[in-house]
């Protein structure tokens, strides 16, 4: 019998798992994919928003503001790079200026640092803006993190602190009686006192299994495109247009890795699995971002992806204990700013559990610090030398574009990577401009050796995604 079963291993599920691991509870997280972070969380922009976009009376606004503050500490604990590069909202026409003034007023009221930047000062901090852009609102507390690394770090830390994980297990049924819930995940039955639904785009389907679905999830697709790292100076901030009432717009995003990302689109779709990119999406993004940074070229794109935002029909986050099914807690509709809000959502869940009568006693052996994720490319030569002395495999570079060593791949596997994508998201091997041309067979060889499975069974991301068909 578990105290708590969390359904969904994205950023939200893992943030909740990690927060719960502070307490003397038996917790399990159930995920349908072969690895965590393989759903919406892998297709995230990596932005820690300042909070100026959302109204503080909404859950989105309140938890985004809180999340922004928590991230500073959390990134340190989990040893994840986090840089407050700041966001700027640019006025592309004079009509935008009063809107920015209003946002600035709101920011002041809500204690979010922000200021107007104009003319030469604006040029100085963001030299590649379109010449007609002369006014922008700067919110310096916004930042960037590597979103999948963050999810993996939460996962590893939660596991280290006693949370159990059941992967590759799709929840197909939930029933409850006076003793609690029985969650059927493929062939296993999990008994738990509480169920927390963090199933992302499938949150409404999961809630429906037990009749706690007083909401609907409307999948909204966003395409994003990554530019070659060589252009790392094209933008210094996360550049937003002045928002309209329904959207934050299409952005020029500085990423923690130094490459620039452009997007996302926002397209309401029916298929929760449709992560295809489109010619129209690319054109829309390019046309739009060029109104802010005209130098961006199609030929600079090295990669594309699409993610699906789980938008609730209330348009706000839904974080509450079901009124009809006691002890069933929804953490649903977590679209943007979900990544920023995730650690605050976790705290919100703790409060809900306490109020619901869960006996929440803190453990005295909680270990907040994750072990360091050694990234060769971030070290200087003396540090590299020391690391190679400890483990020779740090000297064997298996990914040229991102300078990833064999030892980093082995470490990723020890931390739970089972697939080529899992290695990619954890180490960046294959993310560079050659798009895995050089490293794929190295990664397959290392996976095969470490997991003791034949190379031809290695998959890109589980299921039927084997890289090669058969041995010759």
């Amino acid at each position: 019998m578990y105290n708590i079963a969390i359904i969904g291993g994205g950023i939200v599920g893992n943030a909740i798992a990690r927060e719960l691991s502070r307490y003397d509870l038996k917790t399990i997280l159930i995920e349908k994919e072969i690895e965590v972070s393989f759903g919406t969380s892998k297709a995230n922009s990596g932005i820690i928003h300042s909070g100026i976009h959302d109204k503080p009376e909404t859950l989105k606004g309140r938890l985004c503001f809180m999340g922004n503050i928590i991230w500073g500490q959390l990134a340190t604990e989990l040893r994840i790079p986090f840089e407050r590069v700041g966001e700027i909202l640019v006025a592309r026409s004079d009509e935008d200026i009063p809107v920015l003034d209003q946002i600035l007023e709101n920011a002041k009221t809500n204690n979010i640092p922000a200021e107007m930047v104009t003319g030469t000062k604006l040029r100085e901090i963001e030299p590649n803006l379109a010449p007609n852009i002369n006014t922008a609102l700067l919110a310096p507390t916004a930042g960037v993190i590597p979103p999948y690394e963050m999810t993996y770090a939460l996962y590893e830390n939660a596991m280290q602190n006693g949370v159990e994980y059941l992967l590759e297990s799709k929840v197909t049924n939930i029933i409850n009686d006076k003793n609690g819930f029985i969650v059927t995940a493929d062939s296993r039955e999990i008994k738990a006192e509480y169920v927390i639904n963090a199933a992302g785009v499938y949150a409404d389907d999961i809630a429906k299994l037990i009749g706690a679905n007083n909401f609907k999830i409307l999948p909204r697709k966003g395409e994003e495109y990554i530019l070659d790292k060589r252009l790392d100076n094209i933008n210094n901030h996360i550049i937003f247009p002045t928002p309209n009432p329904t959207s934050k717009g299409i952005l020029v995003i500085k990423t923690i890795e130094g490459s620039t990302m452009i997007g996302p689109t926002a397209e309401d779709i029916n298929d929760k699995e449709d992560t295809s990119t489109s010619e129209a999406g690319l054109k829309k993004i390019l046309d739009f971002v060029r109104t802010m940074v005209p130098d961006i070229k199609k030929s600079d794109i090295i990669a594309s992806f699409a993610g699906i935002r789980p938008v609730s029909d209330t348009n706000d986050f839904i974080i509450e204990e079901s009124k009809v099914v006691p002890h069933f807690i929804n953490a649903a509709g977590i679209q943007s700013p979900g990544l920023t809000a995730a650690p605050a959502i976790a705290l919100e869940i703790i409060e809900i559990l306490k109020e619901s009568g869960m006996d929440m006693r803190k453990k005295n052996n909680f270990k907040p610090y994750d072990k360091p994720h050694r990234r060769l490319t971030l070290l200087n030569n003396n540090e590299k030398e020391l690391l190679i002395k400890l483990n020779k495999d740090y000297g064997n570079i298996i990914c040229r574009c991102e300078t990833v060593s064999e030892a980093e791949v082995v470490a990723a596997i020890k931390n739970g990577a089972k697939t080529v994508d899992g290695i990619k998201f954890r180490t960046r091997a294959g993310m560079g401009r050659c798009q895995a041309g050089f490293c794929t067979h190295h990664v397959m060889r290392i996976l095969s050796k470490e997991l003791s499975v034949p190379e031809e069974t290695i998959t890109k991301r589980g299921g039927d995604s084997r890289i090669v068909k058969e041995k010759r």
């Binding site: 295809s276 594309s304 020779k392 040229r400 041309g437 794929t440 031809e456 039927d464």
Partner: protein, 415 residues
């Protein structure tokens, strides 16, 4: 960190790097270090088990590994120090190179001269912006070639090749020989990207359809590729409504090659946006004194034979630089004129003999390749982008050229 000094370091042991090291050795240079990231010498030649190598250089029809063996055997007879399984991760203006491997850790090499011979990499699906899903089963042709010929795995059984580059056509044949069904090769342009001999020997001989003016406009499949949508392309290069679907489990991309210049950018060397390689003179000397570059790292060649020839020139010049440390002052720029996409090398310095290579913008029949003052004046029945025009300049011509401000080459339709 282990520190070593050498007269010459050659980075990359494919056809260019091996030829450069050998030539430098012949020139009497004592300390030569030849480095490669792979476990054996030969570079990409080792996965090119098809024939067609050496026709120009040795007038023999060799496979890639046979062609590589010729050089490997010669290298074994020299004092060239070979360091394999080692990645060059850093390079500086003053000719220091940092290598990384799992035996020595980091090694700092100080060299009097460097020859860069990193070869090229393949453009990917992403760089040609093909929309759709991102399932397993999408490879560049060269990666598939490595899987089949070196690793011993079949990437898939039911294949569409996107783009008609040489490796794509060679892999269309290879996959067919290994029992896969290759449904089609698509090419967005009105003409093939690769050599005529490959169209005949790899596609026509195996009845593999080549769809010119066609491109894949959508990729389907969640976990694994399940099919593609192909559209006819209009004269502006845009897809038309004339489309058809092919079910397949694998896509191979052969949509162009890009010189591998991560290291060159660290120096930094000035990169020619048209070739994708650094600007070079006719000894393959870059703008940075003592750093030379040859083969596909400098510009994408049609044949390994050409790469070896360039390697020899670069190796000889690098050896001379290591010995005497000087370079010629005067140089005449070469300029790409009408219908010329690029001309290499970018500067003429030599008085004895120089070979220029011209890549045209599109296929044209019955042309004249003509230079400033008519010093070069060649008649050609056909020129095409897949096959560079070679211009050999002897000492007489070079003497005339040395009086010019620049040498412009135009490719003009006769009449």
């Amino acid at each position: 960190m282990k520190k070593i000094s050498t007269d010459l370091i050659v980075i990359g042991a494919g056809p260019g790097g091996m030829a450069a090291a050998l030539k430098a050795s012949e020139m009497g240079i004592k300390n030569i270090l030849l480095v490669d990231r792979l476990e054996e010498l030969g570079g990409i030649l080792q996965q090119c088990i098809h024939n067609g190598f050496g026709l120009q250089k040795f007038e023999k029809d060799l496979t890639g590994p046979e062609y590589a063996d010729h050089y490997i055997n010669l290298i074994k007879k020299t004092n060239i120090e070979v360091l394999l399984h080692s990645m060059a991760i850093e390079i500086t203006k003053d000719k220091k190179v940092i290598l990384s491997n799992n035996i020595d850790g980091l090694i700092e090499v100080s060299a009097k001269a460097i020859v860069l011979a990193m070869g090229c990499r393949e453009r990917t699906r992403q760089q040609v912006s093909i929309p759709g899903t991102r399932p397993a089963g999408i490879f560049t042709a060269g990666v598939a070639q490595r899987f089949v010929n070196i690793e011993g795995y079949m990437p898939g059984k039911s294949v569409v090749v996107v783009g008609s580059g040489d490796i794509g056509m060679i892999m269309a044949r290879r996959m067919t020989l290994e029992g896969a069904k290759v449904h089609a090769v698509t090419e967005i342009l009105p003409y093939a990207g690769g050599l005529t001999r490959n169209i005949v020997q790899c596609l026509e001989d195996y009845q593999i359809p080549l769809h010119l003016n066609h491109n894949v406009i959508n990729i389907c499949g969640k976990d694994r590729v399940t099919g593609v949508k192909i559209a006819k392309i209009d004269s502006n290069g845009d897809p038309t409504n004339e489309t058809f679907d092919i079910e397949c489990d694998t896509l191979l991309f052969s949509v162009g090659l890009i010189p591998e210049n991560e290291l060159s950018r660290m120096v930094p060397l000035d990169i020619n946006p048209v070739t994708g390689g650094p600007y070079i003179d006719d000894t393959y000397h870059t703008g940075n004194d003592g750093i030379f570059i040859c083969g596909n790292a400098a510009f994408v060649n049609d044949l390994a034979d050409y790469v070896s020839l360039e390697g020899e020139i670069a190796g000889e010049a690098a050896a001379k630089y290591a010995l005497y440390g000087n370079r010629p002052n005067s140089r005449i720029p070469t300029i790409a004129g009408d219908n010329v996409r690029f001309i290499v090398p970018n500067f003429i310095t030599r008085q004895d003999q120089v070979t220029l290579y011209v890549r045209v913008t599109e296929p044209i029949t019955d042309v004249r390749v003509i230079s400033t003052d008519g010093i070069v004046n060649l008649k050609k029945q056909i020129v095409k982008p897949s096959e560079m025009v070679e211009i050999k300049l002897d000492s007489d011509k070079l003497k005339k050229i040395s009086q010019l401000k620049e040498l412009k080459i135009d490719v003009k339709k006769n009449g």
